[in-house]
Subunit: 138 residues, 4 copies
C-alpha cells in the first residue's frame, strides 16, 4: 500500500446553508489528495497529461460520516492498495483537526490515450513509479 496525507482548509464558498461542506465538494478534495499522492511518487498529473495520457474517472463512492465545516483544516489521506492495471483504484479518508473521520470514499480512474480517446492499460512510466514505492514482499 502507498498512502499520502495532504491538508487543505475549507473555503467559505465550499459550505452550504446547512453550514457544512457541500457534499459534491468532496470529489474535488479527493482530487487534491490524489494529485499530491501522484506528486509524492515523483510524477505529476500535469506531466502525465502532457505525455498524452488522460485519467478520467470511472466511478466515485463517497460515504459521509460527519460534516466538514467552514475553516476546518482537513487532512486528506489517499491510499493505493492495488497496483494499477487497466484502471487505477484510489481510496480516501478525510479527517478534521480533532482527528475525527468525516468522510471515506474511493475513485477508480481509467487510462486514456488523449489523442485517440481510447482506453489503454497503465502506461509503463506510471506503473514503474508506483512499483518503486511499493513495499517489498519478503
Amino acid at each position: 500500500m502507498i498512502a499520502y496525507d495532504t491538508t487543505l482548509r475549507v473555503r467559505y464558498g465550499e459550505t452550504d446553508q446547512m453550514g457544512y461542506v457541500y457534499y459534491g465538494k468532496y470529489a474535488e478534495y479527493f482530487e487534491v489528495g490524489r494529485v499530491e499522492l501522484i506528486r509524492s511518487i515523483g510524477l505529476s498529473y500535469k506531466s502525465i497529461e502532457e505525455q498524452g495520457i488522460w485519467m478520467p474517472v470511472a466511478d466515485l463512492v463517497v460515504k459521509y460520516r460527519k460534516p466538514g465545516r467552514y475553516d476546518d483544516l482537513l487532512t486528506i489521506r489517499t491510499m493505493v492498495r492495488e497496483l494499477p492495471r487497466s484502471s487505477f483504484f484510489t481510496e480516501y479518508e478525510i479527517y478534521n483537526e480533532s482527528q475525527e473521520l468525516l468522510v471515506t470514499g474511493s475513485v477508480r480512474l481509467a487510462f486514456f490515450h488523449a489523442e485517440r480517446v481510447v482506453p489503454v492499460r497503465v502506461p509503463a512510466f506510471i506503473l514503474e513509479a508506483v512499483e518503486k514505492q511499493w513495499p517489498q514482499q519478503p
Copy 2:
C-alpha cells in the same frame, strides 16, 4: 417507483481542461434532479428545511460511462424505488440530447432534526407525499 425528468444545460465553468464536465459536478446535477422530483410531488426542499428537517447526504455513488460536454442539454432522471424510512434512497440517470446514457448513480439521504441535529425517521408529511404518488398494487 416514482421518476422525474428535468433538464439543465452544462455551463462553461462546469467543464475542465479535458473539455468534459468535471466529475465532481454530477453530485450537483443529482441535487437538481432530486429537488425537482421533490417539487413534482408537491413538496419543496426549501419548505422541508423551513419545517425543521435537514436531509444531509449519507452516501453518493457515481458511475461515469461517457463524458458530458459544454453546452450539452442534459436530462437528469431521478428515481425513487423504495419508500423512505430511516433514509431516502434516490437513483439517477443522466442522458445527453442524443439519448446517450452518460452517468448513473445514487444518493442516500438521512433525515435530521435541524435544531437538535439528530437523525430522525422520515417525517409523516414527506412519507405521505411520496405514498400519494406511489403506484397502487393490485
Copy 3:
C-alpha cells in the same frame, strides 16, 4: 441595445453558510446569461470556439445589492449597449421572483485566435450577428 432574459434556479451547493448565494457564483450566472444572449442572436458560444475563436474574460465587475437565496428562480438580464470591436462589453442585472434587483455587473470579453493565442478584433460573423439585431437608427 440588445437585451435578453434567461432564468435559472439557485442550487443548494451555490449557497454558503450565510444562506446566500456565494458571491463568486454570480460570474457563472453572468456566463449563463451571456451564452443565452449569444444563442438568441443565432450564434452559439460553442460554435464560436469550434470556429477557432476564444473569448476570455478581460474584466468583471459585480455589485451586490440584495442576497440571492436557495431555490430562488432568478432572471438574468444580459445587455449589450455597444457593438463589439476589439472587445465585447456585456452588462447584467439579476432579479428574483419578486422583481427585486439583487445584483448588477459587467463583463468585458476579448477575442482570441484560439490556435495562435493572440488577441484579434471581433470576427465578421460575430459582428454581423450582433448588427442584425441592432435597432436601426432613423
Copy 4:
C-alpha cells in the same frame, strides 16, 4: 498598508475547457487571501461570524491579465490600504510561480449585524486588530 501573501495550487476542477482557471474562481481565491490576511492579524473570519458579525461582499472587481493554469502554485497577495469604517476595502494581486502577475482586483465588504441583518459600522475589535498592524505615522 497591511499586506499578506498566501499560496494555493490550482485544482483540476477549477480549470475550464480552454485549459485556464475559470474566471469566476478568482472570487474564491480572493476569499482565501482575505481569510488568511484576517488570520494573520490575530482574528479569524469564523470567530467574527461567531461574534454575530457577517461580512457580505458589496462589490467585486477582477482584471484578468494572464491565465492561471492547472497545477499552478499561485500566490494571492491581499492588501488593505484604508482602515475599515462603514466598509472594508481589500485589494488583490495573484502571481504564478514565474512571478507573472495574472490577476488584480478588489472586494469591498460590508459589516452586518447577523441576527438583525442590518449594516453596522466596523466593530471595535476588528478595527483595533487592523490598527495594531497599521504602520505608525511619524
